[in-house]
Symmetry: C2
Amino acid sequence: METIYKQLRSTSYSISCELCSIQPMCIPLMKEKTHCHVVNQKMCIKKNDLVITPDKPFNTLFVIHSGCLKSYTITRDKEQQITNFYLPGDIAGFEGINTHSYSNFVQALTDTQVCELKYNEFIDLIDKNSQVFKLVFNLMSAEILHQQQFILLLSQKNAEQRLGTFIYTLYKRYARRGHISFNIKLSMSRHDIAGYLGLSIETISRIFSKLQRSDILQVKGKHILIKNLQELIKFSASFE
Amino acid sequence: METIYKQLRSTSYSISCELCSIQPMCIPLMKEKTHCHVVNQKMCIKKNDLVITPDKPFNTLFVIHSGCLKSYTITRDKEQQITNFYLPGDIAGFEGINTHSYSNFVQALTDTQVCELKYNEFIDLIDKNSQVFKLVFNLMSAEILHQQQFILLLSQKNAEQRLGTFIYTLYKRYARRGHISFNIKLSMSRHDIAGYLGLSIETISRIFSKLQRSDILQVKGKHILIKNLQELIKFSASFE
DNA sequence: CGGCATATTGAAGACCTTCAACACAAGTGG
DNA sequence: CCACTTGTGTTGAAGGTCTTCAATATGCCG
């Protein structure tokens, strides 16, 4: 279970550094040698390894370069409650800033590469560099807006709309990062999807079958093919 | 429907400026006359007036001084989907920073006093003053964490747990602001609560009756008395 | 006090969960 | 290579929770 960090070259489902959410600060940082201690580039994490646990000292944010991570909390009855999935370009750890402690577990769903942002150095940098500050400010605001929309999804939409939106959102998130394809390889299990969307795994399974029967998706295990994007979009109307 | 701003002295359910979330910057600001153009203090808003609409130019954040506001979006079928309730000390408008546009309506549920934060001046100030920056950074991080916990509430808890948590959270939010009392006067309708918690108004009504029968609450319209705080806390275990 | 909005309660039904059986895939050891 | 195991996913049937519809009650503001 011990995470092994090592340098590694990009694999599939990675983003180029030019599309990364921290690109506007990361690239200049690497050039300005004075700041390059802030970012530790492209550390490799093995599938199932824990990147963040609530008991670890809060000192790092993680920028995902390739692969996929999930964050979750543990309930009293030892169940995992999925709170987020992180794709290339995302940043994990924002929710810990206020309390200065991680509140979740964050675990790799596939072999994953992350760039570490050392928190204290990061804060100093934000403080000095107003361009970086505005970038971070925008990223956090975007996360608040995204969560607000997810809250509406949970409070107002049925199972079919939730799963449809989930798949469509994955499609869009990959597309925005340069992976425009109707083929989606899910990194997460049905159990993880269920936990995230507030449904049971059986319901996830049934809705996948239903979306297949109505020729919107083709589903084979973790391989999803979007056959009718227009219909899929209808499920997620008024979301993001 | 036109909002009438005017100076007004504090009424019940207000906070003292010392307990306001922006106090660490607001009070010094008022002293340093050079900055006092950032905050417009204690504007009065009439019940049902709209403070924010999506079509207004994004140029102001609102700090609530007294009263209560709700934020909501409108669905295709003209239904209000409640996204948040704002109490004294809260700040409304964070989610608009990234897109530089308000994404919600924000409406006063009672006569309400707000302090306006002019966005551009505010940003300049954050940029210059690292104490203010850290405060805002923490407030946004706290909001992300709070939303994450609310997402878990919606995805994992039943109607009774949701409403119990809602009431307990109101109790705590007022307590943190200096109004420690088992008596809670709801500013919002059953319809608003239902929209917020993702339930129907009938379910809200039934659960209130049930909590009354089990002697946890005493419910009389908008007046709630917490009769058994320990039992109420049990509903919201693992939340906030 | 009357009229309208808001809230409560009951009954029927929809949607999702739970339980249980089965299918399928990946990994292990003989 | 196959038998066996284990984890993961699918499907059916029964049951529970919440919603919807409808009727009634209560509260509020002129």
